[in-house]
Symmetry: C2
Subunit: 221 residues, 2 copies
């Protein structure tokens, strides 16, 4: 069976878990304290980070490259639309979340509040938390602007853009850092994606020392 080395709140691991589940590829999850740089883990993955996916005889790293592989090797259901311009838009928005949103929001909130404690790297930096909490508003506004024109983030079809975005937002929702009341259209989008069977494993995540808030797993949040 396929095996995914992951860390529960990592948005890049969550994106892969969602894509694997949508494509009905069964995978055994193995939690990896990757920051301890265990020699066995480093042998599997010289980049020293999660996710690492063992599948089809390969040991794969780099979540975006893995998603492209899954889309090519397991084409059903398609998570990229048809036509080069539409595919570009889905990839652009996925990259927006994995790069810009990650840099401006996820790393400022999640990594300060949770990772620092779990990894024993000291206390959260309140300047970073303030910056992340400020910046997420801009991103939620951008999502609302997109969703006013489209059913899903990249168009009328659900795509990797939605899974990348939901991976980051669900990890931040675990620590109550998403204001779902800011835009009804964003809340509606999250309710739709949250209710998919692929989301179940993510809603069941538990990080010791950080219990999720009651609304986290509630489909009627």
């Amino acid at each position: 069976m396929a095996k995914l080395y992951h860390f529960p709140l990592s948005p890049f691991c969550r994106k892969l878990r969602l894509v694997l589940a949508e494509k009905r590829i069964e995978v055994e999850l193995s939690e990896e304290r990757y920051w301890e740089q265990d020699p066995d883990f480093m042998r599997r993955n010289p980049a020293g980070k999660v996710p690492v996916l063992k599948l089809d005889g390969m040991t794969m790293s780099e979540s975006t490259a893995i998603v492209e592989y899954l889309e090519e090797a397991y084409p059903e259901p398609a998570l990229l639309p048809r036509g080069a311009p539409a595919r570009f838009e889905a990839r652009r928005i996925a990259a927006w979340f994995d790069d810009k949103f990650h840099h401006e929001v996820t790393s400022k909130l999640l990594y300060e509040r949770v990772h620092k404690k779990v990894m024993g790297q000291g206390y959260p930096d309140s300047k970073n938390i303030k910056a992340g909490a400020q910046r997420i508003k801009y991103h939620l506004d951008y999502m609302a602007w997109l969703l006013d024109q489209r059913r899903w983030l990249a168009g009328d079809q659900m795509s990797i853009a939605d899974f990348a975005a939901a991976a980051h937002l669900s990890a931040l929702d675990y620590i109550s850092d998403v204001d779902w009341n800011r835009h009804e259209v964003v809340k509606d989008w999250y309710a739709k994606i949250k209710s998919r069977p692929a989301f179940r494993s993510i809603l069941a995540d538990q990080v010791p020392g950080f219990p999720p808030p009651p609304h986290y797993a509630d489909l009627d949040f």
Copy 2:
């Protein structure tokens, strides 16, 4: 004609310039002082960074998504190999350079030495420069390990992996931060890619206040 908003030493812009030139897509270059967040530029690209490519009626950002678009819309010559596993490997290595190498080396050397001065953000941090200079050795060793087994970084065919790597290394070579004598096989690889017509515009780059060393544009370096 297509138009690329870029900054000369940006590795992400260089990767696109190489891919566009290999595919013989003519493009007008427009230098963009993106850190000044000019309102016109921000309208073209809400992510506020380079590269931004105007092509086929679209205004595109996110270099990896753009490369995938070019590969789909302009398939000749192919810069991804055939077969999902080989394509994964090319994408994985491209991501290695754009993510890990960028974080550990490019941002520590190029951004400290050049960008800080150009952007008026003060003096280089010698701790970062030391860390980047140390870390690039590991990456050159990894490249040598790959190139001992393969003609190009991701296999026997030149691919986006080579252009991503060459984009970062050429930008660092502009400030003499690459020790080409560390591995003959890496030097041979760079000599091969440097002599391609697609590389000419990159070898002609000039950043005011930072003249390149004589070996930078020399094909027999």
